[in-house]
């Protein structure tokens, strides 16, 4: 039923909107994964053709066709199966991710800071990923890039991939809120400790799959608390996936039926998480 709804929302160009209107890369990538998981290959193939048509010359993907900038959504394209997307396009997406860092990690910025005599901060030691090039790295895009690279590393265990996964995970651990969990990436702001968000806590935990430490334990406790309180489908999807990645999703957990799925990614991601709960992973390596 839900898969039928997804297929029915496909735009004529082959992509999917967030709610209605033009096709965007994020809903298209998640929906292709959900359709492939359900064995619905025909609409998925049309979606893949839309994805391939929107690739940019630098090997990255724009958030929407016509936008002249590759962004974080390249990680979502890299999560698509290489055998479906095409080896060349997939490899270029991975290469774009490996080359992309937050602006604060670039040589130019670091050199300038050195010239100005500003000490390097612990939070800046490890490169993460920005939403858009020339901006700082944040938790959301870093978590998604790690998921994509981790999946690729199982297929192609290259040192360059491992290195970015490890530094990305250190970035996440350095940006954890004091109480555990993550917000968008500001650990502290003027005069207060920033508080974690459910959605970014789930995303970061998914990206930290296999990392066991007191920090991740604190984050898992926060995620468990959010799971009981949260009323957002997007946040619950990521919390479930994050807890599942650490084997901590409560046994018999039932997704509340009254939670509204507001956007297409809410729905497709929900289907992918439900598959993951059955042991079929399309987002986690």
């Amino acid at each position: 039923m839900a898969i039928g709804i997804l297929a029915g929302q496909q735009n004529r160009d082959g992509g999917w909107p967030y709610v209605h209107g033009s096709s965007w890369t994020e809903p298209t990538a998640y929906t292709i994964l959900a359709l492939l998981a359900a064995g619905e290959t025909e609409p998925a193939e049309r979606g893949l053709r839309w994805i391939l048509a929107t690739e940019r010359p630098d090997g990255g993907w724009p958030p929407q066709a016509g936008v002249d900038q590759s962004t974080w959504v390249t990680a979502l394209v890299a999560l698509l199966p290489a055998e479906r997307l095409g080896a060349r396009a997939h490899a270029r997406a991975i290469a774009w991710l490996i080359e992309t860092t937050g602006r604060e990690s670039t040589l130019t910025y670091r050199f300038r800071e050195w010239l100005l005599g500003n000490p390097r901060l612990p939070e800046q030691e490890f490169p993460g990923w920005p939403w858009i090039p020339d901006a700082a790295a944040w938790v959301g895009p870093t978590a998604l890039a790690i998921l994509a690279l981790d999946k690729e590393y199982r297929r192609r265990p290259l040192p360059a991939i491992r290195e970015r996964i490890e530094s990305g995970r250190r970035f996440l651990l350095a940006r954890m809120c004091r109480e555990g969990g993550w917000n968008h990436g500001s650990v502290r702001a003027l005069g207060y400790e920033a508080r974690p968000y459910p959605e970014t806590t789930g995303m970061a935990l998914a990206a930290l799959r296999g990392v066991r430490s007191p920090s991740t334990q604190r984050a898992l406790a926060v995620a468990q608390r959010f799971l009981g309180e949260c009323r957002s489908a997007d946040a619950l999807n990521w919390l479930r996936l994050g807890l599942l990645a650490h084997g901590q999703l409560p046994a018999g957990y039932c997704h509340p039926l009254e939670i509204a799925e507001r956007t297409l990614p809410d729905r497709s991601l929900g289907l992918l998480v439900a598959e993951a709960e059955k042991g079929r992973h399309f987002l986690l390596a």
């Binding site: 209107g21 900038q69 968000y197 946040a235």
Partner: protein
């Protein structure tokens, strides 16, 4: 202090660390003037001021500025009386919206319905009803929050679904709207062209409806800063960090220039003071402030908050060095400023913007 604030906001790091001011294009001199002292005029401001003066006094002839009308209306609480209050307030401004498309842009920030962080839904609904009654062809509510991606969930938590009938049909998530690449009419930042949402660009009247708040990076966030919410997160991310790298004040001024068909209604019934725009304390001011000239509206709000508007960098930039926002160039209607003025607490870094006679 401006030096530290800007760097922290760009990188999401702890305030107070000695990270220097990264320059937008690696040109060290570019941001130096604002680093030297918050109180000194920057080179850009001097140029803007000079340009403004030239415009005003071209050929040695002084041209009077047409005063902007700003209304201050008492509104002690969020209750049903707001509908009548807002209707009357808009009538006073004689807005011609018959057959036009109106977009209301509230400020939605966090999932905290009990706090004073978001524009109150009752006020937004009152404005929606008033514009409909004035004959607007369409009235939509549109917002693109800067931190949280699940906008509709945030609007739900903020009470919009309960307050506004058929809210989902009325609302546009500006973060995910279709976009057009535009170059603002005047540019103060290094951004160049910017993708902006078609819903906001296509509005005949974009009504900025912020909360009256102090802000830990720019001292006060009002109708002009509220336009950060039109920059699409779907393109630029959450937060919209490119704006921080390009200069917050400069980008506020850019966005002000990008949307000339605007009106502002500021929710000062209960504002936020101290460490705003998120961690501050509720501050009842009991007023609505409205007008067509957002810089004049924001300057008036500052005076109510007992903040000197000419010390707010983006207000000076957007008003020809401040000439348009002096008290004598604003035609105040409704309540008088001294009667409604109530000092908003400021964090120590911004105590210097306090009006001197406060």
């Amino acid at each position: 202090m401006a030096r530290t604030l800007r760097s922290c906001e760009r990188t999401g790091l702890q305030a107070g660390h000695p990270l220097g001011p990264p320059t937008p294009q690696g040109k060290v001199g570019r941001t130096l003037p604002s680093v030297i002292s918050s109180r000194l005029l920057t080179r850009r401001e001097l140029l803007a001021g000079a340009a403004g003066t030239t415009l005003l006094t071209g050929c040695g002839e002084e041209r009077p500025i047409v005063p902007s009308t700003v209304s201050i209306v008492r509104a002690p609480v969020y209750d049903q009386r707001l509908y009548e209050t807002v209707r009357r307030m808009l009538e006073e401004h004689r807005l011609e919206v018959r057959g036009r498309n109106v977009v209301l842009k509230p400020n939605l920030v966090e999932f905290e319905p009990e706090s004073s962080i978001n524009t109150h839904p009752l006020l937004v609904h009152a404005a929606l009803e008033a514009f409909r009654a004035m004959g607007a062809a369409t009235v939509r509510i549109a917002e693109g929050p800067g931190h949280r991606r699940n906008t509709l969930d945030l609007a739900d938590a903020a009470g919009y679904f309960k307050t506004v009938p058929s809210f989902e049909d009325t609302f546009v998530d500006l973060n995910l709207d279709d976009v057009t690449r535009v170059r603002p009419a005047r540019q103060f930042s290094s951004l160049g062209a910017l993708y902006l949402p078609n819903t906001a660009l296509g509005a005949d009247l974009l009504v900025s409806m912020p909360k009256m708040k102090t802000h830990h990076w720019v001292a006060a966030t009002l109708s002009m800063k509220n336009l950060f919410g039109v920059v699409p997160g779907g393109i630029y991310g959450w937060p919209k960090n490119v704006l921080h790298w390009a200069g917050i004040h400069e980008c506020v001024a850019d966005l002000h220039a990008a949307f000339p068909r605007q009106f502002a209604i500021v929710d000062g019934i209960v504002g936020m003071e101290g460490n705003g725009p998120i961690e501050g304390k509720p501050k009842p001011a009991g007023v609505l402030v409205a007008g067509r000239d957002r810089a004049a509206v924001d300057a008036t709000c500052c005076r109510i908050m007992r903040i000197e508007p000419l010390k707010i960098e983006y207000l000076r930039m957007a008003s020809s060095g401040g000439s348009h926002i002096t008290e004598r160039n604003i035609r105040q209607i409704g309540e008088s400023l001294p009667v409604v003025a109530t000092p908003f607490e400021l964090i120590p870094e911004f105590r210097w913007v306090r009006m001197e006679n406060s």
